[in-house]
């Protein structure tokens, strides 16, 4: 039995011991413990060091708002994580934890020298210094500042865990499973509505877990809780998720949830995800998130052993742990009195209750005195002592807000403080719902809402279990009513309730120099009351400025403990009403959320889809090297033996030009345009004229944006009078279809034409080379494919090797070319058939790289490589593709804009290096005068550049200012290691300019 554990008490399993380690030492715990409760059970209070001053810190809270007790945890390789709240991490056998932000050890921390120099390290100190000497910033000051920052250490190994996600829809989502949430769930659940009830803790109950003595409906709180949970669990329409945090409240009642599934298990089941992200869309949301206890701000309020009174009560009642032997209480709220009574009943000596208020409920005072506790009303705490554990606190009387008498010291090993309660309105704030300051209770309350939600219980300053249950039930009933369902609010009878009230303060009065007081507001970030006052003094008059200047509220608890205290002090320093000062904005997530959970399934192979063609597996077997093209992966080249890319590509090019190459062209986008107005539609979309194109014939189509720049291109076949087979670039397919639909639906809805994507209906094999027809002819049935019957730029249906096919005679290589389209299921079969049949011609499979070279030799452009979104048809040298007689097409008007007809535009031209062996670098910049000083006047850049095996030299395409007028002239390409001279060739065609090879 651990020294501070009370036998049999609490909700932990006393018969199931668990061992874990903290800084290498084994800690005895019980099943159901958190790391924090287990450490406290063993009398360990010193758990961490603060961010800036490295002050020793203990466990402050019992919840997810914990700012101090953050630990690193690990459960094996790749499973280390920093900054885990010891107050939330459940223990299991084998868990390892370590303290953070200390070196060499938690008890001996060199960084604590910062604390001695705290006067220098005031708010915003770094803005004022480290500027001289100038050169010291990069090398000395900045690395020093950065090294001092940060809390835990980053993981350094890849996380092996798996994360999941779901979409979910429900009638009512209830956030928070305390009294209000349970009452709302009972009401909504009994009405038949579909309900999701979530709570961040490992079990439902909320504050009831810490208040077992209250009686509801004649049962003690925990028996009632058991019965209620049993009833809810039995409802098919209610889904309960514990260890689940509502992280953010998004548009139209979508709430993000993060569910922790395995972090509490010693041995998670195989294939179990660690966490799951839920995107819940609820018709109604009930926010029953309760309230957080607020610290009091006084000198030395951060020493280990100083903790929230409510937290001590939770450790006692829920975990059966006493947080000390002799405690002292300082409070401005009744609730701490009850905590004191509970501790005293459990055997902890309570030396004093100091209350800042002059008037306190006499029954509390009488009870305290009857229990032998010294009571000091209208008093303050002016200091504490003890470095690694508090040993005493100093108390002084207060009159009119000032210390009015001598102080005395109260010995204690634990200080329980309570500065009142702050409603948790984070999620409500995410909706941009407005908050209103309740001056009586000194809390912000939800005001105007923007979403379909209800706030219930302590979240809107309803205190006491009886009222909270009623409020929750009413919220549940209101939600049910909004759904159009009937269901009365469930009613409860409560006895032994502990309601209470209190006051909210700025920093407590002191008899010392407030400028010397170490009175903390934001514990983790070491923001003190005096820092807020300094910020205001320096002109930071907006609460956002105060926050950013001091970093108050920017630590991992995101201001849950510090916001209101900071606000009270800022308001006092500014001499402005709290409501005029206002609150900083709460932002998602409610508590820090694992990246892995947000990424979900989208990791490794599933980070993004890799689309593969039906022929991809063959290419993989043959050892192809792939490259990504949009979402597809395409074979780039097929190396043989030890070939590198250039050797492979030279071989593939040569084979294709001399005999026969085969290429998987399946990825090209395909759109079938069908209807009586198909030709009119094509005329309006594409620059080219389509009216005279005969069925069975093809044409190169050029598509512009309305801004006149080239967007896409492709060969388009007219299958029948009313049916076009449009091809697009691989990456452009979805964009082009969307653009076409846009014009069709919204600009020309009168046209009788429809568009269907057939990209994946067809697998496409391109055959190119002088032997292409020889290979194909014996396989084709139902079609004469001789040059006379089926000339270049033809299309027809036939069968190829018995497979139904749509055959195109087109070429992107300048060689005799066919593209065989077959239904996708036959793609691989077709490919293998052609491969077998092509052996007699030494058929050569080639990839995208060879395709690029072959087309460049012919001067054919690739959209996105030779054009870049700023290139017009004239710039690209393809104004022949414009139907000059057409009154209009998409982009036509823009081509007449002043800058698009101005001289000096960059035009696509051919470029031949003077040294034929030199292959220019794609992207290299071109100048007229390589000797000019930097910055140089650049004329353009190289868009495509290759070694041409067919020509025995390098070739390149480039966009160059007034390029075509430079035909035959030299330009220069200054590279880091020398200048390359090249000659402009107005035409981009390098190979077979007459096109004779196409006509075989």
């Amino acid at each position: 039995m651990s020294a501070f554990r009370i036998a049999g008490k609490g909700r932990v399993n006393h018969s199931k011991p668990v061992r874990f380690t903290f800084d290498g030492k084994t800690v005895q715990a019980l099943d159901g413990d958190t790391v924090a409760s287990a450490l406290l059970a063993n009398g360990i209070h010193l758990v961490g060091r603060s961010f800036k001053y490295h002050r020793p810190r203990g466990i402050l809270t019992a919840g997810s708002e914990e700012p101090n007790a953050l630990v690193g945890t690990t459960r094996g390789p790749g499973r280390f994580e920093p900054n885990t709240r010891a107050t939330m991490q459940e223990v299991f056998d084998g868990l390892k934890t370590e303290s953070q932000n200390r070196w060499p050890s938690l008890t001996m921390d060199i960084g604590s020298v910062n604390d001695r120099m705290h006067k220098l390290f005031s708010a915003g100190f770094y803005y004022k210094t480290f500027m001289w000497p100038r050169s010291f910033w990069d090398k000395v000051y900045e690395p020093f500042i950065r090294a001092a920052a940060g809390l835990g250490k980053s993981p350094t190994e890849e996380d092996p865990d798996h994360y999941a996600s779901r979409f979910h829809h429900c009638d009512v989502l209830i956030v928070g499973g305390g009294a209000a949430g349970l009452a709302a769930a009972l009401t909504a659940g009994r009405s038949g509505a579909s309900v999701v009830l979530v709570d961040e803790q490992s079990e439902l109950g909320g504050s009831l877990l810490s208040e077992p003595s209250i009686e509801i409906d004649g049962k003690d709180a925990w028996s009632w809780l058991d019965a209620t949970v049993a009833e809810l669990s039995g409802m098919a329409n209610v889904r309960i998720m514990t260890r689940t945090t509502a992280i953010g409240y998004y548009h139209q009642n979508m709430v993000g949830l993060c569910q922790k599934l395995t972090d509490h298990m010693a041995t998670p089941p195989a294939d179990a995800p660690r966490e799951r992200l839920w995107r819940v869309r609820a018709k109604q949301v009930v926010l029953a998130q309760g309230a957080s206890e607020k610290p009091l701000v006084f000198d030395g309020n951060d020493r280990p052993g100083v903790m929230m009174a409510g937290a001590a009560q939770t450790y006692l009642n829920r975990f059966g742990v006493t947080v000390g032997r002799y405690a002292a209480v300082v409070t401005s709220h009744d609730s701490a009195w009850y905590a004191a009574f509970d501790l005293l009943t459990a055997g902890v000596k309570v030396n004093a209750i100091v209350d800042t208020r002059a008037q306190v409920d006499p029954t509390l005072v009488d009870s305290a005195r009857a229990l032998g506790i010294d009571v000091f009303l209208s008093s303050t705490v002016t200091g504490t002592s003890g470095r690694k554990r508090v040993t005493s606190m100093t108390v002084a009387p207060v009159t009119d807000g000032k210390v009015s008498g001598g102080s005395h010291v109260v010995a204690c090993d634990t200080v329980l403080m309570c500065g009142g309660w702050t409603p948790n309105l984070h999620l409500f704030s995410h909706t941009k719902g407005s908050l209103i300051w309740d001056d009586e209770n000194k809390v912000y309350l939800p005001h105007e809402k923007t979403e379909e939600c209800q706030v219930a219980g302590a979240g809107r300053a309803v205190w006491g279990i009886a009222d909270t249950l009623k409020d929750g039930a009413d919220a549940g009933a209101a939600a049910v009513k909004s759904l159009g369902k009937s269901g009365a609010a469930v009613t409860f009878t409560v006895s032994k309730d502990r309601t209470g009230s209190g006051e909210t303060h700025r920093e407590l009065p002191t008899d010392g120099d407030p400028g010397s007081a170490r009175a903390f507001i934001d514990f983790q970030n070491d923001v003190q009351a005096k820092d807020i006052r300094l910020a205001v003094r320096e002109g930071m008059k907006s609460i956002e400025h105060v926050k950013r200047y001091t970093t108050n509220g920017m630590a991992t608890d995101q201001g849950k403990l510090s916001n209101i205290n900071g606000l009270m002090i800022a308001s006092d320093a500014l001499g402005r009403d709290v409501k005029q000062v206002g609150l900083t904005t709460f932002r998602p997530p409610y508590t820090p959320t694992t990246f892995g959970a947000l990424a979900g399934y989208h990791k490794d192979g599933h980070f993004e889809i890799t689309r593969k063609t039906t022929i991809d597996s063959w290419a993989e077997e043959k050892g192809a090297v792939f490259e990504p093209v949009a979402l597809f992966r395409r074979a780039r080249y097929f190396p043989q033996g030890s070939e590198d890319m250039h050797a492979a590509v030279n071989r593939e090019c040569k084979a294709t030009r001399t005999s026969l190459g085969m290429f998987d062209a399946s990825t090209l986008g395909k759109i079938e345009v069908v209807g009586p107005d198909a030709v009119e539609f094509m005329n309006r979309m594409y620059t080219n004229p389509w009216t005279k194109l005969q069925p069975g014939r093809c044409r190169y189509g050029l598509l512009l944006g309305e801004d006149g720049y080239i967007r896409d291109d492709g060969v388009i076949g007219r299958l029948t009078e009313d049916r076009f087979h449009v091809t697009t670039t691989t990456g452009g397919a979805p964009r082009v279809l969307n653009m076409m639909e846009d014009y069709l639906q919204t600009e020309w809805p009168d046209l009788k034409v429809w568009l269907t994507s057939t990209t994946e209906q067809w697998a496409v094999v391109a055959l190119n080379g002088p032997n292409a027809r020889k290979l194909l002819e014996p396989l084709v049935e139902g079609l004469d494919i001789s040059d006379e019957a089926f000339p270049h730029m033809s299309v027809a249906d036939c069968t190829v090797g018995g497979l139904p096919a749509r055959l195109f005679r087109v070429s992107f290589t300048g060689e005799l070319g066919f593209e065989v389209n077959v239904p996708a299921r036959y793609g691989l079969q077709l490919w293998e058939m052609l491969w077998e049949a092509g052996q007699q011609y030494d058929i050569c499979p080639y990839g995208t790289e060879t395709m690029h070279v072959l087309r460049a030799e012919k001067g054919y452009i690739i959209i996105g490589q030779d054009t870049d979104g700023t290139v017009t048809p004239d710039d690209a040298g393809i104004s022949w593709a414009i139907g000059k007689a057409k009154p209009d097409f998409v982009g036509k008007r823009s081509l007449a804009r002043p800058d698009l007809v101005a001289s000096g535009r960059k035009q696509l031209i051919g470029l031949l290096t003077v040294d034929p062996k030199t292959v220019l670098e794609e992207g290299a910049q071109i100048v007229d005068d390589p000797k000019q000083p930097i910055p140089m006047k650049m004329l353009g850049h190289v868009t495509s550049s290759y070694w041409s095996e067919a020509l025995g030299r390098s070739i390149a395409m480039a966009v160059v200012e007034d390029g075509r007028a430079r035909d035959g002239k030299s330009v220069y390409i200054p590279m880091p290691n020398g200048v390359i001279e090249a000659t402009v060739q107005a035409s981009t065609v390098f190979y077979d300019p007459e096109g004779a090879r196409l006509k075989l």
Binding site: Y250, H251, N738, Q745, T746, P887, R893
Partner: protein, 100 residues
């Protein structure tokens, strides 16, 4: 993630099924070549970008595929109404602002 009423499907559906398509009621001129450079610029580029009610286009791309129009408050992101493409701009003063 917005919840959007598709006027064709007549259902409230998640934004993931939809693609935003810019400001609505900017019709492509019948005869673009008749426009001055300034008028053409206005068509291409000038947008009202209001802080408040915005008439805009969406496409139910992963649903019925239709482009439609919406009036949405750009400050709250709430939809006032959605309506089929081609319908006239609704009178906003008559919309309650509750939901479409």
């Amino acid at each position: 993630m917005l919840l959007i009423h598709c006027p064709y499907c007549d259902k409230e559906l998640p934004e993931l099924e939809f693609a935003y398509a810019g400001e609505a009621h900017i019709a492509r001129p019948v005869d673009p070549s008749a426009l001055s450079d300034d008028e053409w610029r206005d068509f291409l580029f000038i947008r009202s970008n209001p802080r408040g009610t915005h008439f805009e286009r969406w496409r139910h791309i992963h649903g019925c595929g239709r482009f439609f129009n919406a009036a949405r408050d750009t400050v709250t992101d709430k939809f006032l109404t959605t309506y089929p493409a081609g319908e006239a701009r609704p009178d906003i003063s008559k919309l309650t602002g509750s939901k479409a």
